[in-house]
């Protein structure tokens, strides 16, 4: 069964932006809020050179990696266009304004 963790409210994340959640070690989860107020969570690493996706420009339901401008789909973590690679996703649940993410152990954050 999924173990949900309360990480805050929608207002804590800038629209078309992201915040991070630290999960021990040097791993982070990036929690994104899109222009239409949907929330997605990915491991905060681009599949290309591990760029911190949380620092990228969020547009539509994608984020452009700040290092080399790869576009990553927020829903699937897949690199878009000619690039290929995939960032692990983390399940998100929204209840009212509160946001919950699935406990990362369940999604196998690869070391």
């Amino acid at each position: 069964m999924t173990d949900w963790i309360d990480i805050g409210t929608l207002a804590d994340i800038p629209r078309r932006g992201a915040r991070t959640v630290q999960i021990g070690g040097d791993k982070e989860i990036a929690v994104f809020r899109t222009g239409d107020d949907q929330v997605f969570a990915l491991v905060n690493e681009c599949p290309h050179k591990k760029g911190p996706l949380s620092q990228g420009i969020v547009h539509g339901h994608s984020v452009a990696c700040p290092l080399h401008n790869w576009n990553i789909a927020l829903k699937t973590g897949e690199a878009q266009g000619a690039d290929s690679g995939c960032t692990p996703t983390i399940a998100v649940r929204q209840e009212g304004a509160r946001i919950w993410i699935a406990r990362p152990v369940a999604v196998q954050v690869a070391a």
Binding site: G8, R19, V21, D36, Q55, I57, G60, A64, P66, L67
Partner: protein, 840 residues
């Protein structure tokens, strides 16, 4: 004159134009300077340019303009100049006499002459009536009150703009638009954008009921209400009330809606009075045969004023077909007009509505419907006997042209019926969207540009005739030259026809728009746009909130256009400009404090040394711009690092920004035995003046104290080389991938002049270069002579540029580090939740 040499049959025609005695050509007189009249003449010129002497009468005091583009003018998306189809030069070049602002009052068919309102009389051999249509005014009390207008010509647009202005001055005006059809909704949209509170009164229960079915009409109504309009359907106007001018509209159910402007847009009627009085056969419209000839063989008629085979048309597309047949007839190559099937598009930004053919249903008609409520998409294709007879599309209209083309060709769709509703890409197999294949598959007579009536075949032959760029196609056959919504299709046609030979025109800003950087920037200023969403709305962005290319560009262009007013959008900035530090490959940041002119002191050096130790920075390095770069700082530590540096008097060096970076200097006359001027001092002054300014790209300055040029001023964006007699100013240098030495701009005598020219040049670059274009490619593009004409030769212009730069600077010289240290946007540096989840 013509009638005096015996060619004219009657002598009553006085005041005929001065005609060269040897011009014996037949005289074609056109009544109506609108889209139909001029298009007919264009078609005629294209077939046999010299055959007729042409005179055109126009009721309005303008050259020929695109009436269907009045809505974008009202909405502020176009200027009048941009919707002119044929300017004065066209009339002059083709020796066409234009009599504008003097409507024809009567036709004497026996004498073969027309008399205008002014009394001017002109003889004709062939007469073409293209009087178009008149707005229908519903006969209610108060219809003649000042403030009640229609929406038909430039005068009406001017009246609406004046009402909006007056409303603004009074703290918000109200308007009522009577009529929820195409025209009424476009008027309502424009007035809403102009700041008026708009109520639309529509007699029927469904908006645009002639083009849309109930479902699409409802979607449209909700969308318009979401934009702040009040839509009253099933509402019958009883009277327009007011004392001496409009004060409001009263409905039959007793409701009263106050308004200072009432726009009647309930429909149009063919304008036939002139023809009727001349004794021509008139029914609903002026009756014409397949060659657009009226009941008098020397009188032709074309456009919305005619009735052909029992049909009258109020849309633009049939007009192109009519004009072709007419011109064929006038040049003895009779082809014949067979009537038109019409399609409609609503020109309201962000609302995609398309309809074509018959969707009323009926015996044997089958509906294929797709609804996607969350995307706001509704598609309905009506099929009868395996052929498409109608289509209504809302929210996603890309396949409108494809359905319409099949409808017109009466193509059998039995084989693709299962996939029909999913659009062209799916139905043609594959599912992968290849827009090139889609346009390649269109038939030659498929309409590409609705505004100018240009078919695929015409675009293709235009390209094959050597017009190998978008601009050339626009200039030659006018496709995509008006509203621009078909630009993508035209570009694909270029790619299909030319393969790899496409001369890519000016590149579009990004895939989200068909506009170039220059277009976007011009429109931002022209339309006084104030936010990124507004730009995307008005310029028909194709994505909901842009992409990582256009958002930073729009943010910059707005910031540049509206200094002090525009609210910077942090989410549209590259990470470096958002974090005020340079991201490194491991996700940490490097920090570069400003060292004015490359000068430093023990206090600053000590503070830097302390920061390096305190935050365990693994490396510190002297940069090429004469300052120190501290590496390996975590984003969480940035505010603390900045606080320590601020405490020693240092501010952000903007080493991360599309902005002024450094001013590199040599030691100059104060120390150097060769120095001619105080290059260090001047460098510091220039850096104090220019720091903090956002630019299209990074911008570097250097000041060298003598021609030995130790500061390498001749590979900088702006370089000063001091000489005995003053200061040489250099521009457009670059030491990057493509090394480019500067161009000499000019030489000035004083330090103050060097500063003034620097400010003016910087501002010119800020205002005119494309985003992410360094000064070197910009100058190669516009030419150094252009830069000189603006900066050196135009004293007043230079002063104005300098003043604008300094004004802009008065808002941008706050240290961004200090703001963050004080607590601004602290969340950017902190993780979201104070929880630690042990990873297993």
């Amino acid at each position: 004159m013509e009638f005096q040499d015996g060619l004219a049959p009657a002598a009553e025609c006085e005041g005929d134009m001065l005609v060269p005695a040897d011009d014996v050509r037949e005289h074609l007189v056109v009544v109506g300077n609108g889209m139909a009249g001029c298009r007919a003449v264009e078609e005629l010129l294209a077939r046999d340019a010299g055959r007729y002497r042409v005179t055109i009468f126009g009721a309005e005091p303008y050259v020929n303009y695109n009436r269907i583009m009045l809505s974008p003018v009202l909405a502020g998306e176009k200027t009048f100049e941009q919707i002119v189809i044929n300017d004065r030069a066209w009339y002059d070049d083709n020796s066409i006499e234009l009599i504008a602002g003097d409507p024809v009052a009567s036709i004497d068919r026996d004498a073969k002459c027309v008399t205008a309102q002014s009394g001017r009389t002109v003889h004709y051999d062939k007469l073409l009536i293209a009087t178009g249509s008149d707005p229908f005014i519903i006969p209610v009390p108060g219809k003649d009150l000042p403030g009640v207008i229609s929406f038909r010509d430039m005068k009406d647009v001017d009246a609406m703009l004046a009402a909006a202005e007056a409303g603004k001055a009074a703290g918000g005006g109200s308007a009522v638009v009577i009529g929820g059809g195409l025209l009424g909704l476009e008027a309502a949209h424009g007035l809403t954008l102009r700041g008026m509170k708009v109520t639309v009164i529509h007699l029927m229960d469904t908006l645009m009921e002639r083009q849309l079915d109930e479902a699409a009409g409802w979607l449209l109504k909700s969308a318009l209400e979401g934009r702040g309009q009040t839509i009253l359907t099933g509402a019958d106007t009883e009277a327009i009330y007011g004392d001496g001018k409009v004060e409001g509209v009263r409905l039959k159910d007793g409701r009263e809606i106050p308004a200072s402007l009432v726009v009647m847009a309930v429909g149009i009627r063919p304008s036939t009075a002139l023809a009727r009085e001349a004794g021509l056969e008139v029914n609903r419209g002026i009756k014409v045969d397949d060659h657009m000839v009226t009941s008098d063989p020397d009188v032709l008629a074309v456009g919305e004023c005619v009735e052909h085979d029992g049909n009258v048309y109020g849309l633009v597309a049939p007009l192109w077909d009519m004009c072709r047949s007419l011109a064929d007839g006038l040049t003895d190559q009779h082809s014949g007009y067979i009537g038109s099937v019409t399609s409609t598009k609503l020109k309201v930004a962000g609302l995609d509505v398309f309809s074509a053919g018959d969707f009323s249903g009926g015996e044997g008609c089958e509906d294929i419907v797709l609804r996607d409520a969350s995307r706001g998409v509704y598609k309905r294709v009506i099929v009868k006997d395996d052929r498409i007879v109608g289509a209504v599309l809302y929210g996603d209209t890309v396949d409108g042209g494809w359905y319409f083309d099949m409808l017109k060709r009466e193509e059998n769709v039995a084989d693709i019926r299962d996939l029909l509703i999913f659009g062209h890409a799916f139905a043609s197999g594959g599912g992968a969207l290849d827009p090139k294949a889609a346009v390649a598959a269109l038939s030659d007579d498929a309409e590409i540009c609705g505004c100018n009536g240009v078919s695929k075949g015409q675009v293709v032959s235009c390209i094959e005739a050597g017009n190998c760029s978008l601009d050339a196609v626009r200039a030659t056959c006018k496709a995509s030259a008006s509203c621009g919504s078909c630009t993508g299709v035209v570009e694909n046609l270029l790619a299909v026809v030319l393969g790899d030979d496409v001369k890519s025109g000016p590149k579009t800003m990004c895939k989200c728009t068909s506009f170039t950087h220059d277009d976007v920037r011009r429109e931002i200023v022209a339309q006084n746009m104030r936010s990124i969403p507004e730009v995307m709305q008005l310029l028909h962005w194709s994505t909901p909130d842009g992409c990582s290319s256009c958002r930073p560009a729009l943010n910059y262009h707005l910031l540049c256009a509206l200094p002090g007013e525009y609210q910077d959008d942090q989410q549209s900035r590259f990470v470096n400009e958002r974090m005020h530090a340079n991201i490194q490959k491991d996700g940490t940041y490097s920090v570069v404090p400003r060292m004015w002119g490359g000068l430093t002191n023990p206090r600053e050096l000590r503070a830097i040394a302390d920061v390096v130790e305190k935050f365990n920075a693994p490396m510190v390095k002297v940069t090429g711009g004469q300052r120190l770069d501290i590496f390996g700082i975590k984003k969480e530590d940035l505010p603390a690092v900045w606080a320590d540096l601020n405490a020693a008097g240092m501010v952000s060096g903007h080493a991360y920004g599309k902005s002024l970076r450094t001013v590199k200097t040599c030691v100059g006359s104060e120390w150097c035995r060769f120095g001619t001027q105080d290059s260090t001092g001047l460098g510091v002054k220039i850096e104090r003046m220019t720091w903090g300014s956002w630019m299209p790209h990074k911008f570097k300055i250097a000041v060298s104290g003598c021609p030995r040029n130790c500061a390498e001023a001749t590979i900088k964006d702006f370089g000063v080389v001091c000489v005995d007699s003053g200061y040489e100013l250099h521009v457009g240098g670059n030491g990057g991938i493509h090394v480019r030495a500067t161009d000499l701009l000019c030489k000035v005598a004083t330090e103050q002049e060097a500063m003034d020219y620097c400010a003016a040049f910087t501002q010119l670059y800020r205002e005119e270069a494309r985003y992410l274009e360094r000064t070197a490619p910009w100058i190669e593009r516009v030419g150094v002579d252009y830069i000189k004409s603006r900066i050196v030769e135009d004293d007043a212009g230079r002063e104005a540029l300098r003043a604008r730069f300094l004004y802009s600077q008065s808002f941008s010289q706050e240290d961004p580090w200090a703001e963050r240290v004080a607590g601004a946007q602290a969340d950017l540096h902190q993780p979201l939740a104070p929880i630690a989840i042990a990873a297993e």
